[in-house]
């Protein structure tokens, strides 16, 4: 702590003051209710000249000619005050979310929302900061219309699947672009980033909003601005949370010991239990869940400091997070540090943001159907077998080394003896230099450069005692990789008002370059008890089995862009934005690397019109429209679409094999977005909202065009073909239901309907596994044969044919469309109450009208696998003629010719489930201590709270958790955590 303070002291030395032919102005800034407001910025002549101190007072020095100052503070409406010569008392009114005066940040520049024609949502930063997720993207769920956030894993630190206005690409990337402080940061890679540092998160959705990132903005852009220093006295904050997480309710019920033994005996007693053995095993009822799951503890601490004066400001923070997973041994540890400094010297502005983060994830295999995944063992291990032999305390291995009797590996051995870690060191550093030309007011030049450097090390260790690892005496794989990306943007900007005309424009050039390298090895021969490199046995011809495998590689790509943005406003009523760009990406064929994109948007502030001013109904009404194109360079073909020979080896000698057919005409995937938006505020701004209608059409889709392998050995060629459309409506509403001095109740809600449709394919109706690509249907449309119950006479499974008749003969030709796993309806509802110092909020999120294939259930329903534990419903399987049940007979033969063959079929609607869900995402109860109570303690502010994540989930889906991406829940699900934490925020 002492070191930290001295560091801050050093920073303070940078603070300088300027003086000239000036006069002194003093005053006090307060909230509407008179509470002093600290940290408010005072601007004169377009430049910050000072800020208020802890008691809201300020003293500034301004040129003699200055007649007015502008006072601003985040969360409040700006106010322009005329200088009177005497001390001023300035009261600021609180800004509503989405209010006209709110500023939106679209990248390196910010613009008043009022003037902006693009579709932008702002995620409330306090909601993101407070939620204890190891990956901040999960906290975005339900926060903004049009943005779907689905976590696929409860592993602490695991990222979520974020989609802005649907999936726009069939085979290319659908991941939004993430921008932090003006530079690109790697998507889905947030375990080393601390959301406690976030000041703003904006979600840019249409072509005008993403214009600055036209070359990469097709999937939307998430712009993160980290916290800036505030002028004024040094403020220190300490935030802490401590809590626990537990396993959610399991809706897929497995057999208990008694049931499983009954089932085995019913199926012919494959293990040959004697009656005595069977009776004793029936009583075991071992809980594999208890053996492998735990209540995980979470700790989180952050210290931050902010301060400075009008010319030099800083923000600094240190954070620590330790989150245990609900699967034993798993968890996340994270350490981050950040310093942001902004300086103004004469006509120069200069700033640096530095962040370093280190995280260590302890994981376990998930999302697979491997026998040796502990998360599958939870379901599959027989309940009459145990992790450890109670007589000896040793791992049970009655089926051979590492195995249970059933041939299922002992999952406890894999979980406790193996390890699977991911270590990350991540540095994001950005700096900017801005020069305001003295000779022409409003003209400035700016250059912004930054790096995102990530170093990863992943390690997995297979203990020689575990199943399948004896042959090579264990295995240790360690892979290291680094990724380095720099982003540089240089611009010339002009901004000036001429009477009723507002003109603003900029010319930009941008360069983004990404380099990555990786290296790894897998070694064997862990005979001396060590589970790291010290245990490796070097292989040789004498023990070829221990020869380690080594490998590595790397790649690079770059983007070069030139663009111009021009905004024009007239009379504070009409605004228009034009964007034109030319972008080049290394990822395309030499013939098509560069492409042009553009967009145009208009805003009409209808409420400023004379005829509207008389109508008392609308306090604010704006109508926006935009159209434009953006590009996607997250290709399917990787970084180099040229024909490639890749390395291969044979008999110990290196060779070459055709690696990729390439396509020299490979080009950009283009999105054309039309957006129509209305922003309104009524009832004295107590009810405000936004409606957006959009139509996003993706053209020149990345598509691996299938070819006959006979001519080249390749099954497809990277190409651009076809189109698809996402269109929908987004509705956001915020209302103050009750607004009194002591008691406030507000509700905000957002709901999105996104319709995803494939318009055009080079080849229609391509079936891939469980899904089909079909014109007129959405992506991830499940395509399955309808299951039509069980024939009571012979126990055969029955299926519905296309003509609705029932058959006992399965044929893939009877598959029909079944809906999609991407919820077309989703959103979130937040209700907040406050009474004096108490506040209570609850957020309810929903994803509706989605289906998903439950492969986790398929894994435990296939009668072939009855040597392992099964779904409890299988006890009801057909046994005798006349049985009425939904579970077919387990045998597949023809019953001596009396019935058709009955092979187990998995691609049927039997495993299709309604995966819609409602989820109480967050509940927070807090108490803020009144300033009067704290006055003598030296504490500026203090708040305590308790919050819960995912306390309740409503769904019919039979699994641990319905929140899972993709068309199929494969297996080994790491369920989302049910968390409760108690938190403290203190300011000094």
């Amino acid at each position: 702590m002492r070191k930290f303070l001295s560091l801050l002291g050093v920073l303070m030395l940078f603070i300088a003051t300027a003086s000239a032919q000036n006069k002194t102005v003093t005053g006090k800034v307060t909230e509407a209710n008179g509470t002093p407001l600290s940290g408010a910025t005072i601007k004169a002549n377009g430049r910050a000249v000072g800020a208020t101190n802890a008691s809201g007072d300020f003293t500034i020095s301004v040129p003699n000619a200055t007649t007015s100052i502008v006072v601003s503070s985040i969360g409040f409406n700006d106010r322009t005050v005329t200088l009177t010569g005497s001390a001023l008392t300035i009261a600021l009114t609180a800004a509503d979310a989405n209010s006209v005066s709110e500023v939106v940040v679209t990248g390196y520049t910010s613009i008043q929302r009022k003037k902006f024609s693009g579709a932008i949502a702002t995620a409330p930063p306090e909601e993101i900061r407070k939620q204890p997720f190891g990956s901040f993207d999960q906290a975005l769920q339900g926060q903004a219309a049009g943005v779907s956030v689905v976590a696929n894993s409860g592993q602490p630190g695991a990222f979520a699947q974020v989609r802005i206005r649907g999936n726009g690409s069939i085979s290319g990337g659908n991941v939004p672009l993430y921008i932090m402080d003006g530079i690109e940061i790697s998507a889905a890679d947030f375990s080393s980033i601390n959301q406690g540092d976030f000041e703003r998160v904006e979600l840019l959705k249409d072509a005008v909003a993403t214009a600055m990132y036209g070359s990469r903005g097709a999937n939307g852009v998430i712009v993160i601005t980290t916290r800036r220093g505030r002028a004024g006295t040094l403020q220190l904050n300490y935030d802490a949370q401590v809590g626990w997480s537990t396993l959610p309710e399991d809706r897929l019920v497995m057999m208990n010991s008694d049931q499983k033994i009954t089932y085995e005996l019913q199926r012919g007693n494959p293990y040959g239990w004697t009656p005595a053995e069977a009776d004793s095993l029936r009583k075991v009822n071992f809980s594999w869940k208890d053996a492998l799951f735990q209540t995980g503890m979470t700790h989180q601490h952050q210290i931050s400091a902010s301060g400075g004066n009008a010319n030099s400001k800083f923000f600094a923070s240190l954070s620590y997070m330790d989150q245990e997973g609900i699967v034993r041994t798993t968890g996340l540890k994270r350490y981050t540090a950040r310093i942001n400094v902004d300086n103004t010297v004469k006509n120069w502005r200069f700033g640096v943001n530095l962040q370093a983060g280190f995280s260590k994830l302890k994981q376990t295999g998930e999302g697979n159907t491997f026998l040796n995944s502990p998360l599958n063992a939870v379901r599959w291990s027989n309940p009459y077998e145990r992790d450890r032999d109670p007589r000896t305390g040793e791992f049970q291995q009655f089926g051979g080394p590492g195995y249970l009797i059933s041939g299922q590996p002992n999952g406890a051995m894999e979980l406790f003896l193996d390890y699977n870690n991911a270590i990350q060191l991540k540095t994001v550093a950005t700096s900017y230099l801005e020069f305001h030309f003295p000779f022409l007011k409003g003209l400035s030049a700016r250059t912004n450069w930054g790096i995102d450097y990530t170093n990863n090390e992943t390690t997995s260790f297979n203990d020689p005692r575990t199943a399948g690892a004896q042959a090579r005496q264990g295995a240790l794989s360690r892979n290291t990789s680094w990724n380095f990306r720099y982003t540089g943007t240089t611009s010339l900007n002009y901004k000036q008002n001429f009477g009723k005309h507002e003109v603003e424009g900029g010319l930009f050039t941008e360069v983004v370059k990404n380099d990555s390298r990786n290296f790894g090895f897998t070694g064997y021969g862990f005979t001396n008890g060590f589970n790291n490199e010290a245990g490796l046995t070097q292989g040789s011809t004498a023990n070829a089995n221990f020869i380690p495998a080594i490998g590595g590689g790397g790649t690079r790509n770059g983007i070069l862009s030139y663009f111009g943005i021009f905004n024009y406003g007239y009379d504070s009523k009409y605004y228009v934005t034009f964007v034109g760009r030319r972008d080049g990406s290394s990822r395309f064929g030499v013939n098509n690397r560069f492409a042009n994109f553009g967009s145009v948007g208009v805003t009409w502030v209808a409420s400023s019109e004379k005829f509207m001013e008389n109508s008392k109904f609308f306090d604010d009404l704006r109508i926006r429209a935009s159209i434009g194109t953006t590009g996607n360079n997250l290709t399917q073909a990787g970084d180099f679409p040229i024909p490639i020979l890749g390395r291969s080896t044979y008999a110990g000698i290196s060779g070459w094999s055709p690696g990729s057919p390439g396509n020299l005409d490979y080009r950009w995937e283009t999105n054309r977005t039309i957006n129509f938006g209305i922003d309104f505020a009524i009832l004295k701004r107590r009810l405000s909202g936004t409606i957006e209608l959009y139509d996003r059409k993706t053209m020149d889709l990345f598509y691996a065009l299938p070819i006959d392998p006979s001519i080249s050995g390749f099954g497809s060629i990277p190409s651009n073909f076809g189109s698809l459309r996402n269109r929908g409506i987004e509705f956001s509403l915020r209302g103050d239901v009750i607004k009194t001095k002591d008691f406030n109740w507000s509700i905000s809600a957002n709901i999105t309907y996104n319709q995803n449709r494939i318009l055009d394919l080079p080849q229609d109706s391509v079936i891939s596994g469980l899904t089909i690509l079909k014109e007129g249907k959405p992506l991830n449309t499940l395509f399955l044969v309808p299951f039509a119950g069980v024939n009571p006479a012979n126990g055969n499974a029955q299926y519905q044919k296309r003509d609705k008749s029932i058959t006992m003969v399965y044929t893939p030709a009877d598959k029909v469309y079944q809906g999609t796993s991407d919820a077309p309806w989703f959103g979130g509802i937040t209700s907040s109450w406050s009474y004096k110092g108490f506040d209570l909020s609850a957020q309810l999120n929903f994803f509706l009208n989605r289906v998903q294939y439950n492969n986790d259930k398929n894994n435990v329903t296939n009668p072939t696998y009855f040597f392992d534990n099964m779904w409890v419903e299988l006890l009801k399987e057909w046994r005798n003629p006349g049985d009425i049940t939904n579970i077919p007979r387990p045998s597949s033969g023809t019953l001596g010719g009396t019935a058709p063959a009955n092979p187990y079929q998995s691609q049927t609607t039997f495993f299709l489930e309604d995966a819609s869900f409602w989820r109480l995402r967050n509940v927070t109860l807090g108490y803020t201590f009144p300033a009067s109570m704290l006055a003598k303690t030296g504490i500026r502010s203090a708040r305590v709270f308790i919050q819960g994540q995912n306390w309740w989930t409503g769904t019919k889906y039979q699994s641990f958790d319905p929140e899972a991406t993709g068309s199929s829940l494969v297996g080994a699900q790491y369920p989302a955590l049910v968390q409760t934490t108690i938190g403290l925020n203190v300011g000094f």
């Binding site: 494959p270 010319l507 070829a544 044979y650 094999s657 065009l705 006979s710 001519i711």
Partner: protein
């Protein structure tokens, strides 16, 4: 004055932009650093030879001779799975190849698509070599060029023949109406080229032409592809080219040519007669009677995992009791046969002690049990049996030679074997039985039945609780004798006709 300043500023900005524009080379015009650009390569004889190694490597693909967990091994163990040699073990299988084992495959079955594309990958390698090698050939490296080209021709013939074995409806040599596959002699990356299926006659003609080239070229080389001594023969030499010629002639019914080619293949490759020499071929401890093996190095998979997951001793499939039993006293291969020890081991299922035979041919090299083993594509035993069968079918005086080969082989395999005297159908049947014994687990049974009886009747455990297969017989008329053309291929290339019945 302002206008001048503005102008200057814009010029300065433009200059800066230009500087950044120079970085176009650094940012946009990037080339891969970890792979070879195929627009300008291979660019030397050495690189052409490296493509040949890539061609051999392609044979390790999971759907060629390699395998996944309970899948793959298309030309290694899959023909045994498809036949009556193996049964699927109810309590151990993961059912990953159920569609294949139960003959319920259709044009959407993933493994069928793999069977179609894997050999064409090898063919693509060969065609790249044959396209480029003449560019780098001169008077001094003619021998090297012959060696590389000869192997490329042989590989191209092998891969085409392997496709033919699965996808042709019938092996008739001279039919101009039965459909084979497209015979690809050029490497072409194109979305517009859509070849049709060649007829059987043209297809055979092309295979034989490639083999003739291979044999000629491999007779005039700078050095032998395989070292004079060692434990393996990982490259196709002249013997191997003759061996393939013998096998193709056998399928084509060219009995005299088959016998001649087999004799040529056997030149310098006598039968292994001891247990250690015979077992050594599978354990890489002795090259025994290997003519050509596909090499699998440590960590490069194996043919085994379709049937036997060595590292966990799990048998997805086990030998039918008609082949061999744990007691070793019944079935075709018994404990007095050196093949018994080389092919099988008693590996009871997890948690049980009941003796049970597993196919452990490819269990691992030397004493290892990691499933990493080489695959013997050609060995002398097959050549002796090809010659025997060809002579038996020629009949007459040739039956004597046939019987001699049969007795010879049995004597080399079975301890205390007393020569038999057989003629006519009895001789042909005895040779077929011996072929089933000898080639067990080496990818022949399904094809041998297809070219002879066209009838599969699985043995006693089929349809019982031990092996709950839905189907135990495959009739001669069944469509499943020929694999369907994958739907993905037909969608991409409508000129490829589907096989009858699919």
């Amino acid at each position: 004055m302002y206008s001048k300043i503005i102008k200057n500023t814009i010029v300065a900005f433009a200059a800066f932009t230009l500087v950044q524009g120079c970085s176009k080379k650094e940012v946009i015009e990037l080339t891969p650093e970890f792979s070879l650009d195929a627009l300008n390569n291979p660019s030397s004889m050495r690189q052409v030879e490296e493509v040949l190694l890539g061609a051999y490597g392609s044979l390790r693909a999971a759907d060629y001779y390699g395998s996944g967990s309970g899948t793959g091994a298309g030309w290694a163990l899959m023909p045994d799975v498809l036949s009556d040699n193996l049964y699927e073990v109810t309590t151990e299988t993961l059912a990953n190849s159920r569609a294949m084992a139960d003959w319920i495959y259709n044009s959407n079955t993933g493994q069928i698509a793999g069977l179609y594309s894997a050999p064409y990958s090898t063919i693509a390698h060969a065609n790249i070599i044959l396209r480029d090698i003449d560019k780098f050939t001169n008077a001094t490296n003619q021998g090297q060029a012959n060696r590389i080209k000869g192997q490329a021709f042989a590989l191209r013939a092998l891969a085409h023949f392997d496709l033919f074995r699965y996808f042709a409806t019938n092996y008739d040599r001279n039919s101009t109406t039965l459909l084979a596959m497209p015979y690809t002699k050029e490497f072409t990356v194109s979305t517009s080229l859509k070849p049709s299926r060649s007829n059987n006659k043209d297809y055979y003609d092309n295979i034989f032409a490639d083999l003739t080239q291979a044999i000629t070229l491999l007779g005039n080389v700078d050095q032998q592809p395989n070292p004079a001594t060692g434990l393996v023969r990982p490259y196709i030499d002249r013997n191997a080219a003759y061996a393939l010629q013998a096998r193709v002639n056998l399928y084509a019914g060219n009995w005299a040519d088959a016998a001649t080619a087999a004799t040529n293949a056997l030149n310098g490759r006598p039968l292994a007669t001891t247990q250690s020499a015979f077992t050594g071929m599978y354990k890489q401890t002795d090259r025994g009677e290997l003519i050509w093996n596909v090499q699998f190095e440590a960590g490069q998979s194996s043919p085994s995992f379709l049937v036997f997951f060595a590292t966990s001793n799990r048998s997805y499939f086990r030998p039918a009791p008609e082949i061999a039993t744990a007691a070793g006293t019944s079935g075709l291969i018994q404990s007095n046969d050196l093949r018994y020890q080389a092919y099988f081991t008693n590996v009871p299922a997890a948690g049980t002690t009941t003796p049970n035979l597993a196919v452990t041919k490819y269990r691992g090299k030397n004493t290892l049990v990691d499933g990493n083993a080489n695959f013997p594509v050609f060995r002398s035993g097959e050549m002796v049996l090809i010659r025997a069968e060809a002579n038996a079918r020629l009949g007459g005086a040739n039956e004597v030679t046939a019987l001699a080969d049969l007795n010879n082989l049995r004597a080399a395999r079975i301890s205390g074997y007393t020569p038999e005297v057989l003629t006519g159908t009895a001789l042909i049947n005895a040779i077929a039985d011996e072929r089933r014994r000898e080639m067990f687990g080496e990818g022949h049974r399904f094809f041998d039945l297809k070219r002879t009886t066209r009838q599969i009747t699985r043995g006693s455990v089929c349809g019982t609780s031990i092996s709950a297969a839905g189907q135990c017989t495959l009739a001669p008329t069944a469509r499943e004798w020929a694999m369907p053309i994958p739907e993905t291929v037909r969608n991409a290339n409508p000129n490829i006709a589907q096989n009858p019945g699919y």
